[in-house]
């Protein structure tokens, strides 16, 4: 860190280099007057609220056109506050009981409310105190006869520097000139951060006192990846960040172009690039990053952080939301994968010596069949709303798969009897994460519709190495020949039976692993949403024929290290030939 660099919280990625524009915080002098007529003060208050409402309605409609529904929703929220009967009552009560002027009463009530919201446990709710402040200031402005906008209009690209940007502040800005945002306070969920992300401009928040270090006309650099602000950069810093900006921009443009492009290898082989999600809230990111499906919906998140089991209806709603959201693209719902490192207090599972080798995932579901059936019914009901597939985790033996399908058949029968519609031919697959399943994949491939390889556990069980144990982390080797050979066995067994194979472990998003995985013939690959576009860019540059050769070579090598070296050599060659 150099002396002119200030560290904050990275809130929106990118690099901006521009002159600073410091937002002045509007402060009002609120004095307490006591010789007043309460009736007259209430009249003044209602009038100021009325004027604020008219103003906000205007801003709301402008925001709707300029930013869309999400941002406009903030101002709609402000309108709700102005119409809040309890808020008005509490201010009027203060006026009447303490016989004070409207400004003083409004100021008092606002302070109490802000106190209340700032003490909340949830960060998002804490950040909402700024909305209360914002509404209150608007009304205060009318009470004191001050006009809303005192900042000078923007005429050139600027980086907006503020103590904390209120929604009203941003509404008053000409956004086409705003290239970056820096704020003293706030976190990733503050208004400035959300605003910047929706505008696609870099932002750094939580800088403590950036407003105190900058005046108008200062040159500023914002690094939204590292969460840094550079004040009055030196020529060296300027050159460094200009280059970083251009690299980021080119990369983003290259990636953005790929959002709606298929994932096709250089010689025409097509693979499906999907997203892993935990809750329906992750959908937005998956779609924004061009996911071609959901390769893993971790249903256990619906069961976690609560006192009791989610019922069929609640699960159905969540599955349906994802199925509909993906609009006909495949959605693979993994049935409850709990136990091991994930606990549910209300299940009251016995403590075990070896939880990772114990009573968990499908083993638990086959024992607690009612719970399992409830989930299967919910998934079946959601299957009408999109292309839903079911996947069982932790299958070790064929009998388990058959038993699970037996319960699925019962769930289907029940629904039919109740005249509830579902998709009768829903695909059912197996998550391959136990070496036994990989070694006996040929038997499983006869009966399963597809496989998805869960590398996190597969590596752990193959290497007999606990992933969380740092002392033996050297043994957790995705590129160990044994692991790659198991992956090849699974893929080959499925392909011989005409079934497709995907992968949903962390290895799928590893740049180094992708060339080999493509060469081994994976049909689908699923990862966190933010990894999708870089993976698509990489896969489109790879040639399937060459990758097959690479994989064949790799599987003859003796160690992780040799295999990694080979990939580095070969993929570097591919990058160079690609230009």
């Amino acid at each position: 860190m150099q002396a002119n660099e200030v560290q904050g919280i990275a809130a929106s990625p990118g690099i901006a280099i521009a002159k600073a524009y410091v937002m002045q915080e509007k402060t009002f002098e609120v004095t307490r007057k006591q010789d007043i007529s309460a009736e007259q003060e209430m009249m003044r208050l209602r009038e100021a609220i009325q004027q604020s409402r008219a103003e906000l309605e205007q801003i709301f409609h402008n925001a709707l056109e300029e930013f869309g529904e999400d941002q406009a929703g903030i101002f709609e929220g402000h309108l709700f506050v102005l119409q809040d009967p309890e808020w008005l009552r509490s201010i009027e009560e203060k006026i009447a009981e303490e016989s004070v002027n409207a400004e003083f009463a409004l100021d008092q009530v606002t302070k109490e409310l802000i106190q209340l919201f700032r003490s909340m446990k949830n960060a998002y709710m804490r950040e909402r105190s700024i909305d209360i402040q914002d509404v209150s200031r608007r009304v205060m402005g009318h009470l004191l006869g001050a006009s809303g906008q005192v900042d000078s209009p923007l005429e050139e690209p600027v980086i907006v520097i503020a103590h904390d940007l209120t929604p009203s502040d941003t509404a008053g800005l000409d956004v086409k000139y705003v290239v970056g945002i820096a704020a003293d306070i706030g976190g990733r969920t503050s208004h400035s951060a959300i605003m910047a992300r929706s505008m696609g401009i870099p932002a750094v928040v939580g800088l403590q006192n950036i407003t105190g270090r900058i005046n108008g006309q200062t040159m500023v650099i914002i690094d939204g990846m590292d969460g840094k602000v550079i004040v009055n950069p030196s020529p060296e810093q300027l050159a460094y960040y200009e280059e970083k900006r251009d690299i980021y921009r080119d990369k983003q443009e290259g990636l953005t172009k790929l959002i709606n492009e298929p994932t096709i290898m250089a010689d025409g082989r097509r693979v499906e690039l999907a997203a892993n999600i935990g809750t329906p809230d992750d959908l937005e990111g998956a779609i924004r990053n061009g996911a071609e499906g959901i390769g893993l919906f971790r249903s256990e998140f619906l069961y976690m952080n609560r006192e009791s089991m989610p019922d069929e209806e609640e699960q159905f709603q969540a599955y349906r939301k994802v199925a509909e959201g993906m609009d006909g693209k495949p959605v693979i719902i993994r049935t409850l994968d709990i136990g091991g490192d994930k606990e549910l207090p209300y299940l009251q599972l016995p403590k075990e010596q070896n939880p990772f080798l114990g009573y968990r995932a499908i083993r638990l579901c086959l024992d607690r069949q009612e719970m399992f059936k409830t989930q299967l019914r919910a998934i079946l009901r959601a299957s009408r709303y999109g292309l839903v597939k079911i996947m069982y985790p932790m299958i070790a033996a064929l009998e388990e798969f058959r038993q699970a399908n037996q319960i699925l058949a019962e769930a289907k029968e029940e629904l039919s009897r109740e005249n509830i519609a579902f998709h009768p031919d829903i695909e059912v697959g197996i998550m391959i994460e136990i070496p036994a399943a990989a070694l006996a994949a040929d038997a499983l491939a006869k009966e399963a519709d597809f496989f998805s390889i869960g590398t996190n556990d597969l590596i752990q069980y193959t290497m007999a190495c606990d992933r969380m144990n740092e002392r033996i982390s050297y043994l957790y080797q995705p590129f160990h020949p044994a692991v790659l050979r198991l992956i090849r066995m699974v893929i080959d067994a499925a392909h011989r039976k005409g079934k497709w194979v995907g992968m949903c472990g962390e290895m799928a998003a590893d740049k180094m692993a992708v060339p080999i995985l493509m060469g081994l013939g994976l049909d689908e690959i699923s990862m966190g949403a933010s990894s999708i576009l870089p993976a698509r860019q990489l896969i489109r540059q790879l040639n399937y024929g060459q990758m097959k050769e690479l994989a064949d070579k790799a599987l003859e090598l003796e160690s992780s290290e040799q295999i990694r070296q080979l990939i580095q050599e070969k993929v570097a060659v591919i990058r160079r030939t690609d230009g």
Binding site: G73, E76, G77, F80, V81, D84, P85, E86, W87, L113, L116, F117, M120, K121, N122, Y124, M125, R128, I132, T279, P280, D281, N305, R306, E307, S308, E313, E314, Q317, A318
Partner: protein
């Protein structure tokens, strides 16, 4: 007067958007509406009140409606809080 215990099913609890929907629905009815959570009683037509309860998913609240259209009000608010609508 109708009283109904409800377990909130909205995934992220009652944050701003559901709170807005709640107030919108409540405003459509003549009857008085209150929410009870723990020992707090809140006017169901007050957005700040609802937000200040910071209702999280899986928590239990009690809805109380009192007036001519109390039954309908409770039914549609229950749909919202359990996440069954839409």
């Amino acid at each position: 007067m109708v009283e109904k215990k409800i377990v909130v099913g909205l995934e992220q609890g009652v944050h701003i958007r559901p709170a807005k929907q709640f107030v919108k629905i409540a405003a459509d009815y003549e009857c008085e509406i209150f929410i009870h959570k723990d020992d707090n009683r809140i006017n169901g037509k007050s957005i700040l009140g609802i937000m200040s309860l910071a209702i999280d998913t899986g928590e239990e609240v009690t809805l109380i409606a009192d007036g001519a259209d109390e039954q309908e009000a409770i039914a549609s608010l229950e749909n919202l809080l359990t996440g069954r609508e839409g």
